[in-house]
Amino acid sequence: MAQERTGGARVGATGVIRQISEVSGWIAATMILGAVFLTCQMIFIRFVLNGSTVWQTEIVVYLVVAATLLGLPFVQKHKGHVNVDLLPMWLGPKGAKLLRVATTLSSLCIIGVCSFYGYEYWHLALTRGWTSDTVTAVPLWIPYLALPVGFGLLFLQLASDCADTFFNLSEKSNGAV
């Protein structure tokens, strides 16, 4: 019973994380689409109306940067990040398993570091009131927010993948006994 309940809670937690990653991906996709429309709007204003296009380039860039960061957990969820698994193939099943634990943990570490310092950088921009050095003067905490959020969600998705493989492995070995 108790085991079932923790199992259910775990599935619940990873399920929620997977949902969040999916939503994050939708937001990223919308931002990319928004960047397409905004760039076309800029070309229209400039080429057809011969008007000023001061702010568009900057916003478009921020949209794509934010889309990249928010897309990270989504791509992780769908196993879309490219990797080279030469060593695991060469090491055989047991070594591969160990190596996978090592790579997952080091991924968690490095993404954790990026989330933490990403948060710090965002916080610095917020408290010091940094803006971009353009006429638009975008408050930089807005685009920088994508750093802690994107890396943070990637961290969660990585942790959830990690939990999944770990529990799957242990459940399988339990079944064997």
Binding site: R46, S52, V54, R128, A137
Partner: protein, 305 residues
């Protein structure tokens, strides 16, 4: 010990030469201090240098101070149209109470100035000369810096914002009709191949950009006294070199454009006055509105003869 200096220019640029000069002088002084230069944005992107400098991650940089205008709005005065008339005026400005105020602002970011220096720039037109505000009306224009964009909008120009590296192809395909940037960028991006007229910095010029050699203050204070002295001595020598080279740079750019068969236009004092009047209503006004002690700083700058 070793100091790291980063800048965005090639090793042929005068701003690199200034940095190199300081590095060489310090090395010659034999005070156990070396300066390692990272040119051509090989370490940080041009606009990303001030933050690591102020946090002590980078020791020195040659840096257009207005790039950091988003962090210290007062710095926007270092690329304000019509504020500086010519190189000698710029040099007087560097030693004025106005600059002391700016240096106090830098100190808040733990940044200090080693070498003062201004570089000038001008306008290019694809089909016609640009000397007066009326000339840019209706043209797709690329301006260097926020204040210039505001002033040009006031003159009826349409602003297209892009990196200076894109000016060449944008002029070529006709996306852009006019552009404004530094003399050295005009030459290094070979803009003279695409334009019919160049308005360089002459006796009067609108476009002056403060590009000092900056250093992290705590790092400087962490050096021993002989190291500090040799660094300051090197900086003084480099500053004189910087000023003389800046003037030569403008003349050289005119020569390059002339050889390429580009018409050279001149801005008269009356033209300059017209631009400055326009700037007062646009760029100056918006600066004063957006910076708490803006009017005070602007008056200080304008009071320098």
């Amino acid at each position: 010990s070793e100091l790291r200096l980063s800048h965005q220019w090639s090793t042929k640029d005068i701003r690199h030469n200034v940095a190199q000069m300081v590095a060489d002088e310090v090395a010659a002084a034999d005070v156990d201090l070396t300066i390692k230069i990272f040119p051509s944005k090989s370490l940080f992107k041009p606009r990303e240098q001030y933050k690591p400098l102020s946090r002590g991650q980078l020791d020195m940089t040659v840096f257009p101070l207005s790039y950091a205008g988003g962090q210290r709005p007062a710095f926007n005065l270092t690329l304000m149209p019509g504020l500086v008339k010519n190189h000698d005026h710029a040099s007087r400005l560097s030693d004025s109470p106005f600059m002391d105020e700016l240096k106090a602002e830098m100190e808040k970011d733990d940044v200090m100035v080693l070498v003062d220096g201004y570089l000038a720039g001008g306008f290019v037109g694809k089909d016609k000369c640009i000397t007066r505000p009326e000339d840019v009306s209706g043209l797709q224009t690329r301006a260097a810096g926020k204040s210039f964009e505001q002033m040009l909008v006031g003159a009826g120009a349409s602003i297209a914002s892009m990196a200076s590296s894109e000016i060449y192809s944008a002029m070529q395909t006709g996306v852009l009709d006019a552009a404004n940037t530094s003399s050295s960028s005009f030459v290094s991006y070979r803009i003279f191949e695409q334009v019919s007229c160049y308005t360089p910095a002459g006796d009067v010029a609108l476009w002056f950009l403060y590009q000092p050699l900056l250093m992290n203050k705590s790092t400087f204070e962490g050096l021993n006294s002989s190291q500090q002295e040799s660094l300051l001595a090197a900086a003084e020598k480099a500053e004189a070199f910087y000023l003389s080279q800046a003037k030569i740079q403008d003349a050289a750019s005119v020569e390059v454009f002339r050889e390429a068969g580009v018409e050279i236009a001149e801005m008269t004092p009356a033209d300059f006055k017209a631009w400055r009047a326009l700037a007062k209503d646009t760029a100056y006004k918006s600066f004063v509105e957006s910076v708490p002690n803006g009017q005070f700083l602007l008056d200080l700058a304008l009071s320098v003869e």
